[in-house]
C-alpha cells in the first residue's frame, strides 16, 4: 500500500512537510468554515451537475482541502509518458484510417478495429490537419508505488474535468494564499490559452484567416459538463455554440450572428460523433449540423476531436497501446498498462472465470464506474450474475487485477484519513505536444472504496506540481 504523504507511519515525505505543518495548525473550526466557503463558492460560480428537474438543487462534487502533490522529478516522468502515449494514439488513428500498417504487421488484428462501432468508415482515406485526430487527450493514471504508475484508460474523444482542475486551484489560492507563498506550485492557469493555441494551430487547409475562428460546440445546458463548456469558451474568448447556431452553406460552415453569417474554421466539439451530422451519422438525430462532414472532408472546417477518434480509447484497443508506442515511435513505453484480459479470447475468458474473485471486470463500452464488478469486494450472488453475463457476451468485457490505488490524506469529518486517488492530466497536441502542469485528482471519499467516479461518491482535490 502506497501513501502519497507518509513514507511510514511516522515519517512524512519531504514534499508534504509544509502541508503537514499547515494541517497541524488548522483547527476543526477553520476546516468547517473553509469547507463551507468552498461549497458556497462552487455553487455561486455554478460548477455543478445539472439535473433535469429545474427546481431541484444542482449537485456539486465534494472538494477536499488537502492538495495532492507531485515533485518536479515525479512529474517529469509522467509528462514524458503521457505525451508519448498521446502521440502514439494519434499515429495509430492516422494509420488505421489510411494504410493500416499496424494491421499488415500483424500487431493488431483487423477485426477488433474495423468491426467496432467507434470506428468511423467515413473517415477512411481522409487526413485531418497535421494528422492530429485527437488534440486533447485525458489519460487516467493510478499509482501503486513510488515509481509505479499505471494507465487505466485513455480518453481521446472529449475528456472532461479540466474545469475542475482549474477551479480547484482558484479556490485553493483564494482560501489559502499563504500556502502558495510557502510552496513553489507550478501555475496551471494558462491551460485555456494553450488549448486555444492548439486549436488555432489545427486550422483547416482552406482557412484564410491568420487567426482562425474557433468555436466550442456544446449539446446544451442539460449536459453534465455544461459548466466546463461555458468556462472553457469564456477563458478562451471563443463562442460557445449549439448546433442550431451553425449551418452549412456551399463549402463552408457558418454561425448565425447579429451581423449575419460568420465563417467558422475550427469546431472544438463536446458532442458525440452520432450528433455531429444527421446526413452522415444518425438520420434520426434532431440535433447536429447537416452537411458539416462534407465541409470537413473538403477542408472547409476542422472538427476537434476528429469523428472516429473514439476507436483509440476503446477498451479492447487499450491492450495494444504499449505495442503502438514501440511500432510508431520506436520507443519503450514509459508508463505501463494494467494487465488486461480480453474476454473475447477463449483462453483469457477461461482465466477470468476461474479467477473472478481476484479481478475487476469492466464493460468494454462502460464508463462512469457503472457496470463493473470488483471481484474481491463483491458478494457471491453478484459474482455469479457477472459470470453469466461473461459467458453470454464475452466480447463485451475485459478484466484486470484489482490495483492497490495509492492513498492520499483526505479530510473526513475534520479528521485526516487516507483515501484512494487517481489522476487525469490533460495532454494537448497541435503544433506542439504539451501536458498540463497538474491534472484532476479524483478521490474515493468512502472508506476502503476503489471507485473515484463522481457519480459514485467520488470527490476532487487540487493537484500540485512543484517547480524545480
Amino acid at each position: 500500500m502506497f501513501n502519497e504523504m507518509y513514507q511510514s507511519e511516522s515519517v512524512i515525505r519531504n514534499h508534504y512537510n509544509n502541508i503537514n505543518d499547515w494541517l497541524d495548525q488548522m483547527t476543526s473550526k477553520v476546516i468547517l468554515e473553509k469547507n463551507a466557503e468552498a461549497e458556497t463558492h462552487f455553487r455561486n460560480i455554478g460548477i455543478t451537475f445539472s439535473t433535469n428537474n429545474e427546481t431541484a438543487r444542482e449537485r456539486i462534487i465534494p472538494f477536499d482541502l488537502i492538495p495532492r502533490i507531485f515533485t518536479y522529478t515525479e512529474w517529469l516522468r509522467l509528462e514524458r509518458g503521457v505525451i508519448q502515449r498521446a502521440k502514439a494514439l494519434n499515429a495509430f488513428l492516422a494509420d488505421i484510417y489510411n494504410q493500416g500498417e499496424i494491421i499488415k504487421a500483424n500487431i493488431i488484428p483487423k477485426e477488433i478495429i474495423y468491426k467496432k462501432k467507434s470506428f468511423e468508415p467515413s473517415m477512411f482515406g481522409f487526413s485531418p490537419p497535421r494528422d492530429i485526430y485527437s488534440p486533447i487527450i485525458g489519460i487516467d493514471l493510478v499509482r501503486t508505488g513510488p515509481n509505479d504508475y499505471f494507465v487505466l484508460e485513455d480518453n481521446c474523444r472529449t475528456p472532461s474535468g479540466v474545469s475542475y482542475m482549474l477551479e480547484n486551484r482558484e479556490i485553493m489560492m483564494r482560501m489559502f494564499p499563504d500556502l502558495f507563498h510557502n510552496n513553489r506550485v507550478t501555475p496551471i492557469d494558462d491551460y485555456p490559452t494553450r488549448l486555444l493555441q492548439t486549436l488555432m494551430s489545427l486550422a483547416p487547409i482552406k482557412c484564410e484567416n491568420p487567426e482562425p475562428v474557433c468555436v466550442l460546440l456544446t449539446p446544451g445546458p442539460l449536459n453534465s459538463a455544461y459548466y466546463e463548456h461555458s468556462f472553457l469558451s469564456d477563458q478562451m474568448g471563443i463562442e460557445m455554440v449549439e448546433s442550431t447556431d451553425l449551418f452549412v452553406e456551399g463549402k463552408y460552415l457558418y454561425m448565425k450572428t447579429v451581423d449575419g453569417p460568420k465563417r467558422v474554421d475550427v469546431v472544438y466539439r463536446r458532442i458525440d460523433d452520432d450528433f455531429l451530422d444527421p446526413l452522415c451519422f444518425n438520420p434520426q438525430s434532431v440535433i447536429g449540423i447537416p452537411g458539416i462532414m462534407d465541409v470537413y472532408r473538403t477542408g472547409g472546417v476542422n472538427i476537434c476531436s476528429a469523428p472516429g477518434a473514439g476507436i483509440a480509447d476503446d477498451k479492447a484497443i487499450y491492450i495494444y497501446v504499449p505495442e503502438m508506442i514501440k511500432f510508431y515511435l520506436g520507443e519503450q513505453p514509459i508508463l505501463d498498462n494494467v494487465e488486461t484480459w480480453n474476454c473475447e479470447k477463449e483462453q483469457e475468458l477461461k482465466y477470468v472465470l476461474d479467477n473472478i474473485n481476484e479481478l475487476v471486470v469492466k464493460e468494454v463500452d462502460g464508463s462512469g464506474g457503472y457496470g463493473m464488478l470488483i471481484g474481491p469486494k463483491s458478494s457471491k450472488s453478484s459474482i455469479d450474475k457477472f459470470k453469466t453475463k461473461l459467458s453470454t457476451n464475452p466480447k463485451g468485457y475485459i478484466a484486470q487485477p484489482l490495483l492497490d490505488l495509492s492513498f492520499s490524506p483526505t479530510l473526513i469529518k475534520n479528521q485526516v484519513e487516507g483515501r484512494r486517488v487517481d489522476l487525469r492530466p490533460f495532454c494537448l497536441i497541435g503544433e506542439q505536444a504539451q501536458l498540463s502542469s497538474g491534472g484532476l485528482t479524483r478521490v474515493a471519499m468512502n472508506e476502503g472504496s476503489f471507485v473515484v467516479n463522481s457519480s459514485q461518491g467520488g470527490g476532487v482535490k487540487d493537484t500540485w506540481v512543484l517547480a524545480e
Binding site: R43, N44, I45, G46, E54, T55, R57, P221, Y226, S230, S233, D234, E239, M240, V241, E242, T244, D245, M255, K256, T257, V258, D259, G260
Partner: protein
C-alpha cells in the same frame, strides 16, 4: 455575436427588470392594505394584479382576491410566468448559457440571487414579510445592474440595455394604462384623500415618489404627475426616458446598420412626438388612447428586434 447570445442577453435584463416591477407592485399593494380605503382593499389588489399582467392567471387559480394569495402568486408562484421567482429562474437559465458574454460579476449576481430565492421559497412567509422580500429583490436587481457597469461597451451591452428599456417602457405604460383615470382631471376630488393615495400608489410603484417632489415645486396635481411619468426625461421610468434609451442603445449597435435603420424608422415618429408634445395636449387628446398606442408600438418594436436580430 451569436444571434442566440444577443437574444438571451436581451431577455436576461427583461426578466430582471420585470422581477423588480413585480416586487414594487407587491410592495405598493402591501402599503395600501395598511391604510383605510373607502373603495375597499380588494380593488387595490386587483389593480396591482392587472398592472403586473397577472389578473387572468390569478383568477384561474383563485376564486377570490386575498392578500396572502396575491402575494404568493406574484412572488413565488411557479405557474405565474411573471412571478419574481420565475423571472429570476429564467434570467438565471439564460445567464447560464451566455455567462461568457458578460462579466463573472454579472453571472455571480444572478446566480447568487437564484441560490437565495431557492432558499427563500422553502421558508414559510407571513404577510408582514413582504417589505423584506421586496427590498431583497430590489437589492438583487441593483447588484446585477451595478455589475453591468464593468461590461465592455459592445453590442452585448446594448442588447442588455435594449431589453431593460423595452421591458421598462412596457411596464411603465401598463401601469399607466391601469391607473390612467387617477390622472384625469376630476374637479370633485382634487386634492382629496383618494387622489393623494392613488397618486402615491402610482409614483411608488414606479419608484418615483420622492423623485417627483424634487422635480416639481408646489402642489401635487394630476397634470404634473402625468407630465413626470410620461414626458419628463429626468425621470428614469418615464415613457419618454425609456424611448430615448431604446433609441440610444439601438443606434449604438455596431452590427447590421440596415437592420438598425429599419427598426429605428418604425420608432422615430413616436420618439419625436414624445419629445415635443405637451402633457396638456396628450391629456386633451386622450391619455388612455396615448398609452394604449404606446404599448402597441413598444410591442411592435420588440417583435422587430426579434425578427431582425434573433432569428
Amino acid at each position: 455575436m451569436l444571434s442566440r447570445t444577443a437574444e438571451y442577453l436581451y431577455w436576461i435584463s427583461r426578466y430582471m427588470e420585470r422581477a423588480e416591477t413585480t416586487a414594487r407592485l407587491l410592495d405598493v399593494g402591501y402599503r395600501m392594505s395598511l391604510f383605510p380605503n373607502p373603495s375597499g382593499y380588494n380593488n387595490e389588489w386587483e389593480s396591482v394584479l392587472s398592472a403586473a399582467g397577472a389578473i387572468e392567471g390569478y383568477k384561474n387559480k383563485y376564486k377570490t382576491i386575498e392578500q396572502k394569495n396575491v402575494e404568493d402568486y406574484l412572488f413565488f408562484d411557479e405557474s405565474n410566468p411573471s412571478s419574481v421567482y420565475n423571472c429570476i429562474l429564467n434570467a438565471r437559465n439564460n445567464a447560464l448559457v451566455v455567462r461568457t458574454s458578460f462579466t463573472p460579476e454579472s453571472w455571480l449576481a444572478i446566480n447568487k440571487t437564484y441560490q437565495e430565492i431557492l432558499n427563500l421559497k422553502q421558508q414559510q412567509f407571513s404577510i408582514s414579510d413582504i417589505p423584506d422580500l421586496t427590498e431583497w429583490t430590489i437589492e438583487q436587481v441593483n447588484l446585477f445592474r451595478g455589475s453591468l457597469s464593468s461590461l465592455l461597451r459592445n453590442d452585448g451591452y446594448n442588447f442588455l440595455f435594449l431589453g431593460l428599456f423595452i421591458e421598462r417602457a412596457d411596464n411603465s405604460a401598463r401601469l399607466l394604462d391601469v391607473k390612467y383615470f387617477v390622472l384625469l382631471p376630476k374637479p370633485q376630488y382634487v386634492g382629496g384623500n383618494i387622489d393623494n393615495m392613488q397618486w402615491s400608489i402610482l409614483l411608488r410603484s414606479l419608484s418615483s415618489f420622492r423623485a417627483f417632489r424634487w422635480a416639481y415645486d408646489g402642489n401635487i396635481t394630476a397634470t404634473k404627475i402625468a407630465d413626470f411619468l410620461v414626458l419628463n426625461n429626468n425621470c428614469p421610468r418615464s415613457l419618454s426616458f425609456c424611448i430615448q434609451n431604446i433609441v440610444k442603445h439601438l443606434t449604438n449597435l455596431t452590427c447590421s446598420p440596415e437592420k438598425v435603420g429599419r427598426i429605428y424608422n418604425n420608432l422615430k415618429d413616436l420618439n419625436t412626438k414624445i419629445q415635443e408634445e405637451k402633457i396638456e395636449t396628450i391629456v386633451e387628446y386622450g391619455l388612455h388612447q396615448f398609452v394604449t398606442q404606446f404599448i402597441r408600438k413598444i410591442s411592435s418594436v420588440d417583435n422587430e428586434i426579434h425578427k431582425e436580430f434573433f432569428n
